[in-house]
Homo-oligomer: 263 residues x 2
């Protein structure tokens, strides 16, 4: 049988503002696109719209950097207030160099700047001084993206009758390799980490790679269409990924520190 | 405009043996699938069939391990002959632990076991003692996958009139994250590392992530269909990735050691 994968960037999702219901926007976008959800579909949602809906914006002028934040800011040449925001989102600092601050995020994964992003935070169209929309605002990652993925999955199931899987996608840099790639920071309804133990190859030998980062691979695929932030395609429908549904979470994809030889 | 990505696993590619012409097999498979190649298409080819065609098989009983290979084998609890093969494919050892040997491959990237794989090496159907097909054979990565990608691109262009991009895909584990994902170890005809410097977000601010691992994201997407090795879908056609053609190589994706904080 010919195997196919189809990815569709759902059109028509408006800029998201604090308090917006992301689930409702996705359900509307699915309907507007004339797509019928199918069992096995995955909805890949950029973390940015989840963060914005959650109001995860911090105005830097409200931040009082600690002596530790000032010290690290001196090492990485970043705004001490931004460093404070990053440290508040982190369990531990992994590496500091001029221009670089890599941490273990409170959610467990290792990434640059704890995923705190200055880009794509919209200034208010009316010049309103709402705290969350100020020029100096930075955007934090969602509070609990695994929980948000599960909630979106429930809402979409209720609205459409189909229990699609959901992943929340962020872009991370990587040790050893250049360039960012999409990864799953939240997941529901699929094996984020797929266990191939017991599977055999053509010659009957056990497969060597026994765990596959399924949700990360889907996140990278979806990122190919989400890529250019300015084009506003924050949700991608992914159809045709072969997987057995399971209550997986993106937390499965975090290598525990004691198994991480590059901590 | 609705943006779509389509991936099709090309059916009917037979098991590859040393000396086979991979380009010819791909061109036949495209024709047999009734697909018309289009400008902008990417053909993702698993490194395994390239390696097999190149005869990159080594029989472990032919290998005489050095004292250094024996020493490292004691640390990682692997066959000293396998460790010798891995060291022969490597520039440097990165990490050694029981069960784990992570090296900088001669091609520059960091990965487990230098990509040397025992799985999916077919025993000879007729019991023939051909060196390359013995029970104890291991499969090395292709000799020069960037060059192979460029050669396949040329052959496919000549046969079809379309200059599709080509990537050669392997599966790598990762620091910090669990599970393997597809990465590009060879590439031609696309910006393997895409430079977003100068691009702006919705609010006019420069984008924070200025380099994207485009070919790795395509490799991960294609791996979703290549995944189950036993099902034999070694080539995936990827249509709809937005990129500006360029003579990129997978070497661009290798973080130089002096920029790698996790060497």
């Amino acid at each position: 049988m010919e195997r196919r994968l189809l990815l569709v960037a759902l059109p028509g999702i408006p800029p998201v503002r604090p308090g917006d219901a992301v689930g409702g926007l996705i359900i509307q976008a699915i309907a507007a696109a004339g797509v019928e959800l199918e069992t096995g579909d995955v909805l890949a949602v950029t973390s940015k719209i989840v963060s914005k809906a959650e109001g995860r914006l911090v105005g830097l002028s409200d931040v009082q950097p600690s002596p530790e934040a000032r010290r690290i800011a001196g090492l990485c040449h970043k705004d001490p207030r931004l460093v404070q925001v990053i440290l508040d989102e982190s369990q531990a600092v992994s590496r500091v160099r001029p221009g670089l601050l890599i941490v273990r995020h409170r959610l467990g994964f290792v990434c640059a700047n704890a995923g705190v992003d200055r880009s794509n935070v919209r200034p208010p169209p009316d010049g309103d001084a709402h705290r969350a929309d100020r020029e100096d605002a930075v955007l934090l990652l969602p509070l609990d993206p695994d929980r948000t993925a599960a909630a979106l999955r429930r809402q979409i199931h209720e609205a459409t009758g189909v229990a699609a899987a959901v992943i929340i996608v962020d872009s991370h840099g990587r040790p050893h390799r250049m360039g960012t790639v999409g990864v799953a920071v939240g997941a529901a309804g699929l094996p984020a980490l797929e266990d191939w133990r017991g599977r055999k190859d053509l010659s009957g030998r056990p497969l060597e790679h026994t765990e596959v980062g399924l949700a990360d691979q889907i996140a990278s695929a979806a990122s190919l269409l989400m890529g250019q932030a300015a084009e506003g395609t924050p949700v991608v429908l992914v159809r045709g990924v072969p997987f057995a549904p399971r209550d997986g979470t993106a937390a499965e994809l975090v290598r525990p520190p004691d198994l991480d030889l590059y901590g």
